[in-house]
Symmetry: C2
Subunit: 405 residues, 2 copies
């Protein structure tokens, strides 16, 4: 059983503490560095951006994860992505990890590094190292929310949650998480940082398998503007602070319970990113059923989610079935237009490829709300997928015409 | 030698006439039907939308072209796309062709049909048939511009041109064209109608080859919003009214001259579509050099052209090399970030993957102009491609949130 904790956060699981600091990297008068520490060695699994242009911390972490050590801490800064910063950037990422190792007397190769913010600007390493000392000096189980605030860039709200998972044997494990990300969000790990913590005991291989499965139905099922970025990273760490027995098989009852909790946290964070999409005014859930298989259903759903024409129509609360049908048509998914059924907000607007009459004013009112659903049935098979996106508004243009990444 | 004709249009080539009519399909007080007629049987080649959802006229024309007959006329209406209209739509497309055949006493299977406008609305066939009679009654060589105006939907300007091509033997052939299309423009034949006419004599197979080559460097090298549509069609017809000898080999001197003229017309029309992109304030030429091959250069260039983040930055006159570099990074093209060189408006902003210092105010002024270039050199090989796009503005959102396709 999975239950969301009231005010749960990334340090809700046992044995996790966080500290923050205001380094003055880019922003004035706010924390811009978060340090997340486990009291015990934690197994870890991570997924990184698929962009060929990878930031220095991503390169650092990929090498780190390849070595397979347990982790003890994650340090994250906002305001500077440490991307397109050359070999100085690589040195800066390593210096951040070392500063944490020294401040907390941790073993080498036990600290993961994340950066987000402007790219192409040299890292102010000294400021960050001073901030790490500050953050390390006041670690607390209560600082999870502060950590989520410290990693924000264009985000308007911090994003965090935690769930309690009751295992079949009655023991309870906790899974927490935090994320940042507003623009440039698309599957395949777009500009998004997310950290998930748990006090469960999970061998590295099982954790890795769970992460990759959960990723597909959460962060890789959202789209804000279709761009992917240099820094995206999703990290999950399990420190075993709970007395519950190890999760050794994802398909066992305990494994299924753990996985359900992991998915709940990842989906919550992914949805929070969509809801905070740059200029977003509506949260849109798109479900495609009846595809030849799940993969084609997802391709069709994501193509709808990416279409600027669909997204501007949603901003206008327009049940524009034509644009949705077009998107399905060019998605590459197998489609027989004469079988397609489309609904907006539960109102059926297209059946067997032909539009149904509807009251335009009533439809507009139905869709002029913060949460919209689009349902498509391709009528071909059992394939199904759900993805989430937001609309394209005037503010999306304003924010992105003015913000320098 | 290719020379643009002052005020050249789709009926500039010999043996072509056009007529228009106001059928009242959707718009009041304007022509919404164009009839283009050749005095002689014309060889023809066409390319259609790749969208799985194809409008009735596209289905009609695909069957027509498969039969390989010469064509005598094209009828085009605006205001109703005759898409998602079921078997009634198929009957309407056939009725349009038959009405032209009867009005002009043409042989069966000699009339091509195009429709553009709202989808999912039954075609007002009687109105259109009456309009065809009107248009057929006043065909003229002077009505090319009126025909280009009659096929407009959200277009703000008619799009037409013609070139004179002086062949190596001194004879002159003429190639004309017209197009419509504003939103939903992307390669693979997005919502766009284009007709190209010539008085050259070109066997069907050669014409088809020329069309497919020219398509790649014109209509398939533009992107407005990445969506593709149900009706897109590009048609070229050669009626042989010129005394010049047949073009039997595209790689011969005469063939090369003809092809250069065809590319000039297609690029002019494609650029006109981009310039008239919904809400567009800037025309952007993106060139990628140094790719592993031409295909990868084009993938990288089109990915830049499609990125909403790049397009909003261009609206803001922001030389945001980071977003361009990111787009190259996720394009799938082979890229070594440490070799990439980027320029905006001729100003180099990134070299070997590292940003160069530049005066932000001067850069903004440099880019706050109607025509912008982005040049990327991947530093890996000889692959090169140029594509064209426009920016994403507030008006793009406004137009598409309000317009019902």
């Amino acid at each position: 059983m999975v239950t969301f904790l009231a005010d749960g956060h990334v340090t809700s699981p046992r044995g996790w503490r966080a500290g923050v600091a205001a380094c003055g990297i880019k922003y004035a008068n706010r924390d811009d560095l978060a340090l997340l520490v486990s009291d015990y060695p934690a197994t870890a699994a991570a997924v990184f951006t698929t962009n060929a242009v990878k930031a220095a911390p991503v390169r650092y972490d990929m090498a780190l994860m390849a070595q397979g050590h347990d982790l003890r801490a994650v340090v994250i800064n906002a305001g500077n992505a440490n991307a397109c910063t050359g070999s100085d950037g690589d040195a800066a990422a390593a210096a951040m990890a070392q500063a944490v190792e020294q401040a907390l007397d941790l073993p080498p190769q036990s600290v993961f590094v994340m950066s987000t913010g402007t790219i192409g600007v040299p890292m102010p390493v000294e400021k960050i190292v001073r901030g790490i000392a500050v953050a390390a000096s006041h670690l607390s189980q209560d600082h999870g929310p502060a950590a989520a605030r410290a990693i924000m860039t264009t985000d308007t709200r911090p994003k965090y949650c935690a769930v309690a998972v009751t295992l079949p044997d009655g023991q309870v494990i906790t899974i927490g998480g935090m994320a940042k990300g507003a623009g440039m969000i698309h599957p395949n790990m777009a500009t998004m940082l997310a950290v998930v913590t748990t006090d469960a005991t999970v061998p590295r291989a099982v954790l890795d398998q769970a992460l990759r499965r959960a990723l597909e139905v959460s962060f890789n099922s959202i789209s804000i503007d279709g761009d992917t970025s240099t820094n995206d990273t999703l990290l999950v760490m399990a420190n075993g602070a709970s007395p519950a027995p190890p999760i050794t098989d994802l398909d066992s009852p305990a494994g299924s319970a753990f996985y359900a909790g992991l998915v709940a946290v990842c989906q919550h964070l992914a949805h929070a990113i969509v809801r905070d999409g740059e200029g977003a005014t509506r949260f849109v859930t798109i479900t495609v059923r009846g595809a030849v298989n799940d993969a084609e259903a997802k391709v069709a759903a994501m193509t709808i989610a990416r279409s600027p024409l669909v997204k501007t129509a949603l901003f206008g609360a327009d049940p524009n079935w034509g644009r949705v049908l077009c998107a399905i048509g060019y998605s590459g998914a197998t489609v027989d237009p004469d079988r397609v059924v489309l609904s907006f907000g539960g109102m059926r607007v297209l059946e067997n490829g032909l539009p149904l009459p509807f009251d335009e004013k009533a439809a507009h009112q139905l869709l002029d709300v913060p949460e919209i659903t689009i349902d498509a049935d391709l009528g071909l098979g059992d394939g199904q997928a759900t993805v989430w996106t937001c609309d394209f508004s005037y503010d999306y243009v304003r924010i992105n015409a003015e913000y320098r990444t």
